[in-house]
């Protein structure tokens, strides 16, 4: 085992990391917004919305992500999108964009369940207090319930963010040039079968570790004043 490849191949890792972080950032934001909307649909009074939300969640949680990525790429991969250069890597947006969309949709299903449980954990008296003051349902949700729900679900949401970072490696299968792909390129070019993977494991670990620490900090900050 040797790490001699580092001189030549480190840019694949570093630039790949930037792409992985970029993908993850997009997916976290889109997935969280989408998941919140699906959770609200699932808690809605309108039966068809609840039904659609349930179907969505079941389908995305009940099929492998890799299969979703393949289907998503077949359906969405025909968009005439340009390529762009990121350091040493050439990124094809017609692969990257469908990849981000599928990951976000998948994450939305998991986030929806997290948000729903977080909303349900806020005591009913909170809604009643807000209603009794004349605060309308959507404002009650935005100003009273969701802020408390976010605090409830932060640990679970943090886990989901870490999962997204790791799962983004699956996009290598449709040719997105990200961190995992950097290791793959290195391994197949240098015939090193172990060391590039150890290095890439270290990259992922550092990123996910920092992410969960940041979530912990945020949790402490949001808990200020009303820690139980």
């Amino acid at each position: 085992m040797s790490f001699n490849f580092i001189d030549k191949f480190l840019p694949y890792f570093n630039d790949g990391l930037i792409v992985t972080l970029m993908i993850s950032a997009f997916v976290v934001v889109i997935g969280t917004v989408l998941g919140t909307l699906i959770a609200l649909a699932k808690l809605s009074k309108i039966r068809i919305l609840r039904w659609l939300a349930n179907v969505y969640i079941e389908v995305f949680r009940g099929t492998p992500m890799l299969v979703q990525i393949m289907i998503g790429f077949q359906v969405l991969g025909k968009m005439p999108l340009p390529e762009f250069q990121l350091g040493i890597l050439t990124e094809d947006l017609s692969r990257l964009v469908p990849g981000i969309i599928v990951l976000s949709m998948n994450s939305g299903a998991y986030v929806a369940e997290i948000v729903r449980s977080g909303i349900n954990a806020v005591p009913k008296g909170q809604t009643e207090a807000a209603y009794s003051l004349g605060i309308r349902p959507h404002q009650t949700m935005m100003k009273v319930i969701l802020p408390q729900a976010v605090r409830n679900i932060l640990p679970a949401l943090g886990n989901e963010f870490v999962t997204i970072i790791k799962d983004s490696s699956l996009l290598a299968t449709i040719g997105v040039m990200e961190l995992f792909n950097g290791a793959q390129t290195t391994s197949s070019t240098t015939y090193q079968s172990l060391s590039p993977w150890l290095l890439v494991a270290g990259y992922y670990f550092v990123v996910t570790f920092i992410t969960s620490r940041l979530i912990n900090l945020l949790e402490k900050k949001l808990g200020k004043g009303y820690a139980k």
């Binding site: 207090a129 003051l133 004349g134 605060i135 100003k143 004043g225 009303y226």
Partner: protein
């Protein structure tokens, strides 16, 4: 219906599933009146109170507030709730906000007051309930009695025409009860219309204009404190008072 009744309820029925918890209730509450509802647990008095601002939807019957039947589905009940303050047994303060933010949220969100006005009103009300120094505290750091006084101030911040109290002292340690009752007594003196569900019989005697005794989802008897406490007519009332007094 007569216009001097602030609240008028006609033939109110409420079912939870197949269980009828309110069995045809009628009540008229005049502006400035203090009405106290007493009765054994499970008699439906809290449910009755909660139908007054439609936190419980009546299965049947009319709930007139300031001349409008708010039980009518076409009525915007939130608009009317702005004029009906409610205080809960469990306080239900918003734990993620400071005391001041608890008080300013509703006036600002409903567009009733600007931020500056809402803060001004809030500071005034906190002084009134004796908690000026707690404006920046979070509810969790307050005692139960303090939390309930904040909850009263929060409801008053909307400048309501009536205050509904749902067992406001039942969750408090005994030594906290007095502070809360004092605040309520001051409110009554100021002429606030109040409907109070409570087990504090001494308070009821002292403050109520009208006492209503409920049992098994029905109003058994009502009258002045003197009539109801000292000369109860119904055997059910006598039986209840013999147990609690």
């Amino acid at each position: 219906m007569s216009t001097h009744n602030l609240i008028e309820i006609k033939d109110l029925h409420k079912y939870f599933g197949k269980n009828e918890v309110l069995k045809g209730l009628d009540i008229q509450i005049k502006r400035g009146e203090v009405v106290v509802m007493i009765g054994p647990s499970g008699s439906g008095k809290s449910t009755f109170l909660r139908t007054m601002n439609l936190l419980e939807t009546p299965t049947k019957g009319d709930v007139y507030f300031e001349g409008t039947n708010i039980a009518d589905k076409s009525v915007d009940v939130f608009k009317h709730r702005e004029k009906m303050g409610m205080v809960f047994q469990q306080f239900n303060l918003f734990p993620n906000m400071t005391v001041l933010d608890n008080l300013t949220l509703a006036p600002m969100t409903t567009g009733k007051l600007s931020k500056e006005e809402a803060v001004e009103v809030a500071i005034e009300l906190l002084a009134k309930v004796g908690l000026s120094e707690k404006a920046d505290a979070y509810p969790q750091s307050l005692s139960g009695g303090q939390q309930q006084r904040v909850a009263i101030a929060r409801a008053l911040a909307m400048n309501p025409d009536v205050m509904l109290f749902d067992e406001p002292t039942s969750a408090l340690d005994p030594e906290m009860v007095g502070d809360v009752l004092n605040v309520m007594q001051d409110l009554a003196k100021d002429g606030m219309t109040m409907v109070i569900v409570t087990h504090e019989m001494g308070f009821a005697k002292e403050v109520a204009d009208c006492v209503i005794f409920m049992a098994d989802g029905k109003i058994v008897e009502s009258g002045t404190p003197n009539e109801l406490f000292d000369h109860p007519k119904e055997p059910r009332t006598q039986e209840f008072l013999a147990q609690v007094l």
